[in-house]
Symmetry: C2
Subunit: 209 residues, 2 copies
């Protein structure tokens, strides 16, 4: 017969192996993935950050590349989908630029998440992600606009109260190229479909639905 102490030990071991209970709003990828998991790392950076730099071809500055600080969201907390949505006004040059030339990139760093520790922001092990593609206006009457607003307003609550007469509109980045540095040895090759489909078939705490 098994001793009570042994049964307690087995119970503790089983408990330690159990996934944490699902909680609404819990991050989909709850810690930095390993460097070998490129698509997971890119999705983690997109899901954990709430702001980045959106670069456009500047119409005010004769075609110079113009980076601007923007807030974004790729889903409500706990439901990250990888597509960045923005809430922009043409009072700001970024939206005006995109309506003339929609080539755009969104750049994110691991550094502000606090997980790089004392590693320099330019060190390749402090991950950095650039999503390049087209910045597109989302039809405000579409169901996609409703999803995008829910994604944006849940992570940026003050947006909902921004002045109506500034005519904010929803934009999204249609991703065509992914540049990820998360380790030594140069950028990791990730296709937009690998990035967007990451997690669809995973079970447990990493499931993205």
């Amino acid at each position: 017969m098994l001793s009570p102490a042994y049964l307690v030990l087995v119970a503790v071991l089983l408990l330690l192996r159990l996934p944490a209970p699902a909680v609404a709003g819990r991050p989909l990828i709850d810690r930095k993935p390993a460097p070998s998991e490129a698509a997971a790392t890119a999705r983690w950076l997109a899901g954990e950050n709430t702001w980045g730099v959106l670069s456009t071809i500047s119409s005010d500055l004769s075609g110079a590349p113009f980076g601007n600080v923007v807030s974004y969201s790729d889903g409500v907390p706990g439901k990250s989908h990888g597509i960045p949505y923005f809430y922009l006004t043409t009072l700001d040059p970024t939206a005006r630029d995109a309506l003339e030339d929609d080539r755009t990139s969104l750049t994110l760093s691991e550094f502000p998440l606090g997980t790089c520790g004392k590693i320099d922001p330019e060190n390749p092990t402090c991950a950095k992600l650039t999503l390049t593609g087209k910045l597109k206006l989302v039809d405000r009457q579409s169901s996609e606009a409703d999803l995008a607003k829910a994604a944006l307003f849940s992570k940026h609550s003050e947006m909902e109260g921004w002045p109506k007469n500034h005519h904010f509109e929803i934009f999204k980045l249609e991703i065509e190229n992914i540049f990820l540095i998360d380790w030594f040895g140069g950028p990791k090759p990730i296709s937009p479909s690998e990035y967007l489909e990451y997690g669809r078939n995973l079970q447990g705490s990493r499931m993205i639905s």
Copy 2:
């Protein structure tokens, strides 16, 4: 005759009005300037941040605007000059792009400094700065390269040990246009000379020499 209590009170009042003693390495502008002080705010953002997003015209991506996370320094601690210096390798696309087309912008946010509190990163009162100009290679034999290395290595100590065979070089941004949002009402007009000369003639804790 004046009472001892009165003399003590006067001494305390005088002490309270004295400027804080100068300390090596103390920030030149030790708190966020008022929204009316545009050049000071821009210099504060450049001096307090240590990393940002450098955007170039991508040669790999058919001329798309490409933002990349980089570290920079505009002076040794306590001696901010406003010109951002970078330590880049052509193993990375940003330096390669700049050597083909030197049009570049550096984008900085107040948000990672922690002084925006709960204000959204896109809110105009959470300051954002874009310096647009030309990214130029600095002659490694010049005295400017020595100053730039001192500026970079004092704020990014690990840079000094980065691999020699990666051929890092010093680059600088020659600023031609300044875009600052630090309050409601649109970007503040600041000329590059106003920005670069800010503080040269100020006395006391704000003196920049």
